[in-house]
């Protein structure tokens, strides 16, 4: 009986091996602010290559904790450059695979038309109950918002009104549902095809906060997966860059 099982098993392995090789997949951890563009890029990549891309979205700090604890991600698109650099210095990435895939922009946004003026004067005027920001401890856009408010000299006035989203997607959700009248999110979340899609926004001047360089790496787990390399090459290509630009990122 045992031998029959063994035969069945080895036979099964022989049959399955080529199938597994063909259905190549890559597991990608994506910073929440890059959700929408990455969905489009992944769709294009899947169409062009026939491979499958499995995307997980979340806060960069959380991904870091998961990666050092053995999460099965092969490619990591972070919301900053510090976290990938840290992973690199710890020897957890494929050497030389780190590169900047986008430079993010901070925006003060409200779901209501005409609520946020194009100069952001509303922050000085006040009259709102809640300002949503992403957790400054773990989300780079949250830290950038704090920095911008500090340089404007408005942090003390605005801080009591903070409501903090776990990541930038939740921050957007607080504003989108109207529970917070306005808040700081990534430009990419409120922009499509090069235009702000709804509500009202103030594009925070880039000299008010340190540049949000978003770096990507191939993690050690992806070292032997050719699809990981292919995806990263695709990310650097013109097709992907056009998508990334349409969401308001720079390079």
């Amino acid at each position: 009986m045992k031998r029959v099982f063994a035969k069945l098993l080895s036979g099964g392995a022989l049959v399955l091996a080529p199938v597994l090789a063909q259905a190549a997949e890559v597991q990608v951890a994506v910073a929440a602010n890059f959700t929408a563009p990455m969905q489009k890029i992944a769709a294009e990549f899947e169409k062009a290559s026939g491979h499958r891309v499995l995307l997980s979205y979340g806060a960069t700090g959380k991904f870091y904790a998961q990666i050092i604890n053995g999460a099965p991600f092969e490619v990591f698109l972070a919301a900053d450059d510090r976290t990938p650099a840290r992973l690199e210095s710890e020897g957890r990435i494929v050497p030389g695979s780190r590169f900047t895939y986008a430079i993010g922009k901070l925006v003060l946004w409200s779901a209501r038309e005409g609520y946020v003026d194009p100069q952001g004067e509303i922050l000085r005027r006040g009259g709102f109950r809640h300002v949503a920001i992403a957790s400054p401890k773990t989300a780079p856009y949250g830290a950038a918002a704090i920095e911008a408010l500090t340089r404007l000299g408005l942090l003390d006035a605005v801080q009591p009104k903070f409501v903090t989203g776990e990541n930038i997607s939740q921050t957007y959700q607080f504003i989108f549902t109207g529970n917070a009248e306005l808040g700081f999110v990534a430009l990419s979340q409120v922009m499509e095809e090069g235009r702000v899609t709804g509500g009202s926004a103030w594009l925070v001047p880039t000299d008010l906060y340190p540049e949000i360089r978003q770096d990507a790496v191939i993690l050690s787990r992806g070292a032997r997966n050719p699809v990981a390399v292919e995806l990263v090459e695709f990310l650097k290509g013109e097709k992907a860059r056009a998508i990334i630009r349409a969401y308001g990122y720079e390079f």
């Binding site: 806060a59 700090g61 959380k62 870091y64 904790a65 109950r129 809640h130 949503a132 957790s135 401890k137 773990t138 903070f162 409501v163 903090t164 989203g165 776990e166 939740q170 959700q173 607080f174 549902t177 109207g178 529970n179 917070a180």
Partner: protein
């Protein structure tokens, strides 16, 4: 050691659980009584609605509460028309959410206790000319006391253990909506593992002691 922020989170959690438990005992008792006594065809429907939080992901509850209590939702419009503003990101908002979330943990033990009292006791009380309210407070409540204790302890403990709903509607505001479970999550995300361990171990010990109390009480069957 525990920081001031951690202590504030613990205080807030205990306050939330206390307020929620008191409200749940007041709101849940009539519901449990009705469910225990009624022969209405609606019994099944009401029982199912009460039990929903047992199986629903907290994200579903949190998402619907966020939308319903927001300025464009029915609850939000109502509270704004009363001049109360909207409930998300406030302590009363967390209380409302927790009452929904912990409802079955209070209603079901009380309902079971009421059902165990039985018809004969009520009939005996009636022959002694006790009015319905008198019967309820002099006969039913004392007999159902173990059920009330179980309900209070479970309602309290379950609210302390709440996370998903608070994350969805809390906004993580210190001393208002940042409860212990959210604080632990924050510590883990920020890689402050020592602080996370301290609070997590505290939660573990608390939960174990609560359940130990429930399962070893004399003469009381474990909550089914």
């Amino acid at each position: 050691m525990l920081t001031e922020v951690d202590l504030a989170a613990i205080r807030l959690t205990l306050k939330l659980a206390t307020v929620t438990t008191v409200i749940l005992l007041i709101v849940g008792t009539p519901i449990a009584w009705w469910l225990a006594r009624t022969r209405s065809k609606w019994k099944g429907v009401v029982g199912a609605v009460v039990a929903l939080p047992l199986v629903l992901p907290p994200t579903v509850l949190g998402f619907y509460l966020l939308v319903a209590m927001g300025p464009n939702g029915p609850v939000g419009r109502f509270t704004e028309s009363l001049g109360l503003g909207t409930l998300p990101f406030t302590f009363p908002g967390l209380v409302v959410a927790s009452v929904f979330y912990s409802l079955p943990f209070v209603v079901q033990p009380v309902q079971n206790a009421f059902e165990a009292v039985g018809e004969r006791m009520l009939e005996a009380a009636a022959t002694l000319r006790a009015g319905p309210l008198d019967t309820f407070f002099s006969v039913v409540v004392p007999l159902a006391r173990p059920g009330f204790v179980t309900a209070a302890v479970l309602g309290f403990a379950h609210t302390v253990g709440e996370f998903g709903v608070v994350l969805m509607i809390g906004g993580n505001i210190p001393e208002k909506t940042r409860v212990v479970s959210v604080q632990i999550y924050d510590h883990v995300e920020a890689l402050e593992y020592a602080e996370a361990h301290l609070l997590s171990a505290g939660m573990l010990a608390f939960s174990f002691v609560v359940l130990l109390f429930l399962y070893t009480r004399k003469g009381v069957r474990a909550w089914k």
